[in-house]
Amino acid sequence: MTEVFSAIVISVIALSVLVGFLAIMYWLVGRLPKRWREGARAWVFLFPTAIAVTVGLLIPALRTIYLSFLDDRSSAFVGFSNYLEVFTNEGTRLTVFNSFSWVLVGTVVTVVVGLALARFADGMRTESAVKSAIFLPGAISLVGTGLIWGFVYAGPPFDVGLLNQVTGWVPGLPDSLGGSGDRLWLLERGLGGVDPPDTAPGVNTFLLIVVFIWGQAGIATVIFSAAIKGVPTSLLEAAKVDGATATQTFYKVTLPYIRSTIVTVATLVTIAGLKAFDIVAATTGGRFGTSTIANEFYVTLFVQGRGGLGATLAVVIFALVIPVMIINRRAQARAEEMLGS
């Protein structure tokens, strides 16, 4: 219990020191000549945030770019050789492919599932319960998520896996698809009789993407649901009067109307997919052909201790985020233009 007590004391002291410091600064700045006062007071309000993001994000990010041009012990300049290694090494090429799969498959399926749920649950009597159930996985840590799915994918010697139970029960399914109910999901790379070499993508990445979609769909559903409810009733009524079916109304009125929201959600999921680390680290640790750029970043840097290559992988993630943001901005602007708002 003393530990808890000291933790509380430390936290309270740290926060009071900060508040006291800000109060003294504010008072001191008030003694300044009048024409500087307003600006100086603003900076008293701003400087903790400004310092935190400059020291914690801006400078480190610039330094990471610099480190990516140095060797692994940050002692010599090596030009673009780290970047060359990322894109030519067979292992990292698989990693890049996997990350693209996360982004592409993960985003498309999440958006489709989210839209379907938001559309069909809209107006159901159990709507809020449905949304809570779908959202629940989003409140669980990705490490916990990995654990939960461990019980789905478990294979021999533990006969406790749900997936094996289901596939074993389907008649006529070949062994390579789990027909005998004892497939080692996440450990065997092949599927349907195809055994890919170590440098080629296997099925395991997609098993992990399923976990990712499971965690993200709730967020997509909630946001889409709010957007669908925001479609003006007058538009829906007009479509109905013109004799449009529910399906036609959805595709011709609702979807175009919420286009910018779809872009936003797709952007959020894409960026989450690019940063995918926790699920991979907590399930396979990136083995069995499942590594992603974000996981490779961690392994390269903190397990293998390769500073230059690690920094380069971080820059690659950043470089992939930027076009996504630009596409998002453009699509956003177009959508707003279309709606004339």
Partner: protein, 312 residues
Amino acid sequence: MKLRTKRQKGSIGKGSIGQSAAATLTSKPGQALVYLLVFLWTIPTFGIFISSFRPEIDVKTSGWWNWFFDPGVTLDNYRQVLSSGPGQDDLWKFFLNSVQITVPSVILSVGLGLLAAYALSWMKFKGRDWVFVGIVGLLMVPLQMALIPLLQLFSGGAHIGSVTIVPDLNLTGKVYGVWIAHTAFGLPLVVFILKTFVSGLPRDVIEAARVDGAGHATIFLRLVVPLSVPALASVAIFQFMWIWNDYLIALIFAGRDNAPIVRHLATLTGTRGQSYHLLTAAGMISMVVPVAVFFALQRYFVRGLLAGAVKG
């Protein structure tokens, strides 16, 4: 961009065409699809929930669905992970570590974020728009970009040549380092959401206070803080869930002794892969807080999510 939110309650009132339009949208196959998805989405969590109450031998030898034919309930798994054996720490310690990391980090990021949001909305100074654009621009930077240099700063200080700019702070493995990292990484989004809210507060109210002679400190404490409570709640919950569930920052900045429960769970998964029965209980305990927070404050959480989704 403005996110189009809930349409007015009145417009979908009884008997209106809006109501019938919504009703026809929900077809029978559509409903079936919804329930199928809900089933698929719930079953994995339900499985671990059931497993956590099953005896060790059952968990290891048969799938959790067998519980329905052979029910046996025990609290042994929970008892075991919550009591410490020799040379081992019980789960309480890591649970409290999570609290110790999460609560101050949330207070820091939300508090500092509100101060900044106020300055960016209601105080006049040169370069205000640029500062805002700069902070929000950092939303694009993935935190992987900042990890290595920040860790170096914490463990060795900053130097240019032989000149020391920042001394060795010795923050690696300390809880302060984790607070600073979470605060710095969370602030851009917090500032963005709070600025949108605070700048939308009614101008008349703030002007009136100013005319009555209130300074910025008074306006901030007496007006802006109380008026921003709904936005603060959303952002705080959002940050809370994020920090509680974080693994990467905890892995890199926290020490073995102040690791949060999520990181400990990952360690257990690695080292005690055979102890499935204990993992289920540990997993459930690690989920209790965020899931409870989510259900209790769902409304605020969703609002924060919608505000966050506006970023573009």
